[in-house]
C-alpha cells in the first residue's frame, strides 16, 4: 500500500506528490463510477455509510426547502439509524414534516402506499435497499418510478446491499445512494455517495472545496483506493459470489430449521440478501445467545450491534409486527465468500446446541 508511505501527498496539493495521490483518488472514483454505472463526477467519497446518509438526506431536504420545493420528507421504520436519526433531527429541530411509510410483516414497503404518501411539497424520500436486520430487498426501481413522477428525490441506503446486489443507479432509478467500504471486504471508515448530476446538496460538512464543494475534508487516499479495489473485486465475479452466498445461506437455514422446527424466520424467504439469514428464538435473550456463540467461535449479531446488555427490542422487528419479547430473541447470521460447508455444518450444530441449552437454563432458573 504505497498510499500510506511513498505516495503520501495530499491529493489537493499541486506538487508532484499531491498529483500522484490525486490521480489515485480519481482512478478510484472512475472505478466506483463504472460499477455504479454513473459518471465519476457523480461520486463523492465519504467516511462511510452514515456520512453518506447524512449528506444525502439533510443536504437534499435543506436545499430543496431553500428553493421552495417543500417541507415534507419520507422514510421507513426499517432504516439504519444513520437515516432515521437524521430524519428525526430534521423533523424535531428543523421543523420538517416527517412521514414514516409502514412496512409489512416481511419488512418491505408497498409501492402504492409510497405513491399515496407523496404529496406536493414532498422533497426527499429515503428507502433502504436491503435491510440489515432481516435481509428483505425493497422494490427500489418501482419506487423510483413513482418518486420521479412526483418530483420527489429518492435516496437509498445501499450499505448492506453493496457487494451482493446490483448497484446500477440507472437500473435502480435512484437520485442518491450511499455505500460503505467495510460491507464488501474494503476498509472500515470509508464510503461513497452517488449524487445524480444536477442535484444540489447543502453540504453537511463545510470547509474547503474538496469533492467539488460537496464534502469538505482532506481525502483519505489509501482507504479510498482500497475501497474502490474491493468493490471491483466483489463485482468482477459477482455471479460466483452470489451463487456461493446463496448456497451457504440456504444450507444454514435448512440445517437450523430442520433441527428446530419452532424457530421463526424473519424477512422475505427468497427476496433477500443472498448472504443473510435471520431468526427469532422466542423467549431467549440475544445478548446471552451471542455470548455463547462467540465462545464457540461464531460471530453473530442480534437486533443490531448492541454490546451494552441493555437491549431495546429492535425497532425494525417491532415495526414488522413482532412483540417486544420476540424481538429480544433475534439472531442474524451471515456467510462470506470464504465460508465453507464445514463452517456451515459447525455453525448449525453450535446454534442448535446453544439454543437448546439456553431454553433449558431459562426453565431451570425461572425466578
Amino acid at each position: 500500500m504505497p498510499y500510506f508511505s511513498e505516495i503520501y501527498g495530499n491529493p489537493s496539493s499541486s506538487h508532484s506528490f499531491g498529483r500522484k495521490a490525486e490521480q489515485a483518488v480519481e482512478d478510484a472514483r472512475e472505478l466506483v463510477a463504472s460499477i455504479l454505472n454513473c459518471k465519476a463526477s457523480e461520486i463523492v467519497f465519504t467516511s462511510g455509510g452514515s456520512e453518506g446518509d447524512n449528506l444525502a438526506i439533510r443536504g437534499a431536504a435543506l436545499t430543496r426547502r431553500q428553493l421552495g420545493h417543500g417541507n415534507h420528507i419520507i422514510t421507513t421504520p426499517v432504516e439504519h439509524s444513520a437515516v432515521s436519526r437524521t430524519m428525526e433531527q430534521l423533523a424535531v429541530v428543523m421543523d420538517f414534516a416527517h412521514s414514516v411509510l409502514p412496512v409489512d410483516d416481511l419488512g418491505m414497503v408497498d409501492v402504492e402506499e409510497f405513491a399515496e404518501l407523496c404529496k406536493p411539497g414532498t422533497t426527499i424520500a429515503s428507502i433502504i435497499y436491503a435491510n440489515n436486520e432481516v435481509g428483505s430487498i425493497n422494490p427500489i426501481p418501482q419506487i423510483a418510478e413513482q418518486a420521479k413522477a412526483r418530483d420527489v428525490w429518492l435516496h437509498t441506503d445501499a450499505v448492506q446491499a453493496a457487494g451482493q446486489l446490483s448497484l446500477d443507479v440507472h437500473a435502480l432509478g435512484v437520485d442518491l445512494m450511499s455505500i460503505s467500504g467495510h460491507k464488501f471486504y474494503g476498509p472500515k471508515g470509508v464510503g461513497a455517495l452517488y449524487i445524480r448530476d444536477g442535484l444540489n446538496l447543502l453540504p453537511s460538512q463545510t470547509g474547503g472545496s474538496h469533492e467539488s464543494g460537496r464534502r469538505a475534508g482532506t481525502h483519505n487516499t489509501p482507504f479510498i483506493v482500497g475501497m474502490a479495489k474491493a468493490l471491483q473485486l466483489a463485482y468482477d465475479d459477482i455471479d460466483t459470489r452470489i451463487a456461493h452466498y446463496t448456497q451457504m445461506r440456504d444450507r444454514l437455514v435448512k440445517g437450523i430449521c430442520s433441527r428446530m422446527p419452532d424457530v421463526t424466520r424473519t424477512g422475505h424467504p427468497e427476496n433477500r440478501l443472498p448472504s443473510h439469514a435471520s431468526f427469532i428464538f422466542e423467549g431467549l435473550d440475544s445478548s446471552q445467545l451471542l455470548m455463547h456463540l462467540d465462545m464457540k467461535g461464531i460471530a453473530a449479531s442480534g437486533g443490531s450491534a448492541c454490546k451494552t446488555g441493555n437491549p431495546e427490542p429492535s425497532g425494525v422487528l417491532l415495526s414488522m409486527g413482532f412483540k417486544p419479547e420476540q424481538a429480544i430473541g433475534s439472531l442474524r447470521l451471515s456467510v462470506g465468500h470464504k465460508t465453507t460447508t464445514d463452517d456451515i455444518d459447525y455453525a448449525v450444530d453450535v446454534v442448535c446446541e446453544v439454543v437448546e441449552k439456553l431454553y433449558r437454563l431459562n426453565r431451570e432458573t425461572l425466578l
Binding site: 435473550d285 445478548s287 446471552q288 451471542l290 455470548m291 455463547h292 462467540d294 465462545m295 454490546k307 451494552t308 446488555g309 441493555n310 437491549p311 441449552k357 439456553l358 437454563l361 431451570e364 432458573t365 425466578l367
Partner: protein, 364 residues
C-alpha cells in the same frame, strides 16, 4: 483439572478495582478466564440526573477495556428484569413493612450465586469468581468453608452467608487473600486503569447513595407521615415516613425533647415511630428466619459463637440455638443497641462464617 488452562472461570466484573484485580490474578494463574458484567439496573434520569452507580456505560467501558488489556473475552448480560423483580421489589417491599433490608444479601442469594452462577456453568465454566473480600477453604474432609477476607476492614463474608456447599465448590474469591492496599498495588502492577478509583459504597442501584430519594421516587407510598411516639405512648411529633429511620438512630428525628431520643422500634401497622431514651435502647436477643448453614448441615444443639447484626458491625459473642423451619435464636452476652429487623444475623466461629438468617421483628 491439574492444568489451570483447562479450568474455565467466569469472573463477574464491575469495572471497579476489586473485580478487575480478581480477573487479572486469575489470568496470571493461567485459568481460562471469561469476564461477565450484569446489566442490573438503569435508573431513568428524568427525576434529576442521578444515575445508578453500577453498570453505567462508563463502568461497562472500563470493564471492557480491562478485559481487552488482560486478554479475556467480555460479555454484558441483561439482568434487569430479574434484578428488578427480585432485588429492587424486595428492597421496596421491605421498607414498606418498615424493615431495614440488606439487598446485597438477597442479590448474592438470587442473582450472583443463582442466576449468574447458572449462566457461568452453562458456559461450561467450572467456577464463578467475584471481587469479594472473602475466602473459600476446602477442609481435609472435603467440606468447603466460607472464611472472612484477610483484610477484616473489608471483609464481605457477611453478605455471602447465604452460600452453601453447591455454591462454594464452584466459587473463587481471588482477592480475599489480600489486604486492600495490596489489591491497589496489584492493580498498579497489572497496569489496570482503575488503580486510583475510589471504593464503591452503598447500594449499587442508588445513584447518589441516597436510598430515601430512591424510595420517594420509586415507592412514594412508603414515605407516609405518621406519629412519633414515646415508649409510654405519648405522641410528641410527626415523622415523614418510617423508611427514613433505622433502629438506634439519633440524628434527624425532627422532634425536640429534654434528653436525646433514639429510635427504639417502628410499628408499621400504626405507621408509628417509637422513640425513647438511651436507657430504652438495647436488647440482648433476636430471632432470624430464612437461615442458611454454609455446611448444609443444620446444627442439632445450641452452641456458642459470634454474631454480626450489620455488615459493618463487630461480631459479638452469643449463644445460638437452631429453631425449626429454618429459624434460629441468638442470645448475646451483652445487649446491643441497633438490632434492626430485616438485616442479616450472621454467625461466625472466628474467621469462619458458618451461616446466617434475616432478623425478625418481635411481635409484641
Amino acid at each position: 483439572m491439574s492444568n489451570n488452562a483447562d479450568v474455565r472461570v467466569v469472573v463477574a466484573m464491575s469495572g471497579g478495582v476489586d473485580s478487575s484485580v480478581a480477573a487479572a490474578l486469575l489470568v496470571e494463574q493461567g485459568y481460562d478466564v471469561v469476564g461477565m458484567m450484569m446489566r442490573l439496573w438503569s435508573e431513568d434520569t428524568v427525576t434529576g440526573g442521578a444515575h445508578n452507580r453500577c453498570c453505567t456505560p462508563e463502568q461497562m467501558n472500563d470493564a471492557r477495556r480491562i478485559a481487552d488489556k488482560i486478554g479475556i473475552p467480555f460479555y454484558v448480560l441483561d439482568t434487569k428484569d430479574v434484578f428488578r423483580n427480585t432485588i429492587v421489589e424486595y428492597f421496596i417491599d421491605q421498607h414498606r413493612q418498615s424493615f431495614t433490608p440488606n439487598p446485597c444479601i438477597e442479590c448474592n442469594r438470587h442473582i450472583r450465586f443463582k442466576w449468574l452462577l447458572n449462566n457461568a456453568l452453562a458456559l461450561d465454566a467450572d467456577y464463578l469468581a467475584t471481587g469479594h473480600y472473602a475466602r473459600v477453604v476446602e477442609s481435609d474432609d472435603g467440606e468447603f468453608e466460607l472464611r472472612a477476607g484477610i483484610d477484616h476492614n473489608k471483609d464481605q463474608s457477611y453478605v455471602l452467608s447465604v452460600l452453601g456447599q453447591e455454591h462454594l465448590k464452584h466459587t473463587k474469591f481471588p482477592i480475599g487473600e489480600f489486604p486492600k492496599p495490596d489489591v491497589r498495588k496489584l492493580a498498579e502492577k497489572f497496569g489496570l486503569p482503575t488503580a486510583s478509583k475510589k471504593d464503591s459504597q452503598d447500594l449499587c442501584f442508588l445513584g447518589d447513595g441516597d436510598y430515601r430519594r430512591f424510595l420517594s421516587v420509586h415507592a412514594p407510598d412508603v414515605m407516609k407521615p405518621g406519629p412519633v411516639v414515646l415508649t409510654n405512648g405519648e405522641v410528641i411529633g410527626e415523622h415523614n415516613g418510617l423508611a427514613n429511620y433505622t433502629i438506634g438512630q439519633r440524628k434527624g428525628l425532627g422532634v425536640s425533647y429534654d434528653v436525646p431520643l433514639y429510635v427504639i422500634a417502628t410499628n408499621p401497622y400504626r405507621n408509628a415511630l417509637i422513640v425513647g431514651t438511651r436507657d430504652d435502647l438495647g436488647k440482648d436477643n433476636l430471632t432470624a428466619k430464612r437461615v442458611n448453614w454454609v455446611s448444609d448441615k443444620i446444627p442439632t444443639e445450641p452452641f456458642r459463637a459470634e454474631v454480626k447484626i450489620r455488615y459493618k458491625a463487630k461480631a459479638q459473642p452469643a449463644l445460638i440455638e437452631p429453631l425449626p423451619d429454618n429459624r434460629l435464636s441468638v442470645v448475646f452476652d451483652e445487649p446491643l443497641r441497633d438490632i434492626a429487623p430485616g438485616q442479616g444475623a450472621v454467625v461466625y466461629n472466628g474467621d469462619n462464617c458458618i451461616g446466617g438468617g434475616i432478623i425478625e421483628r418481635d411481635e409484641a
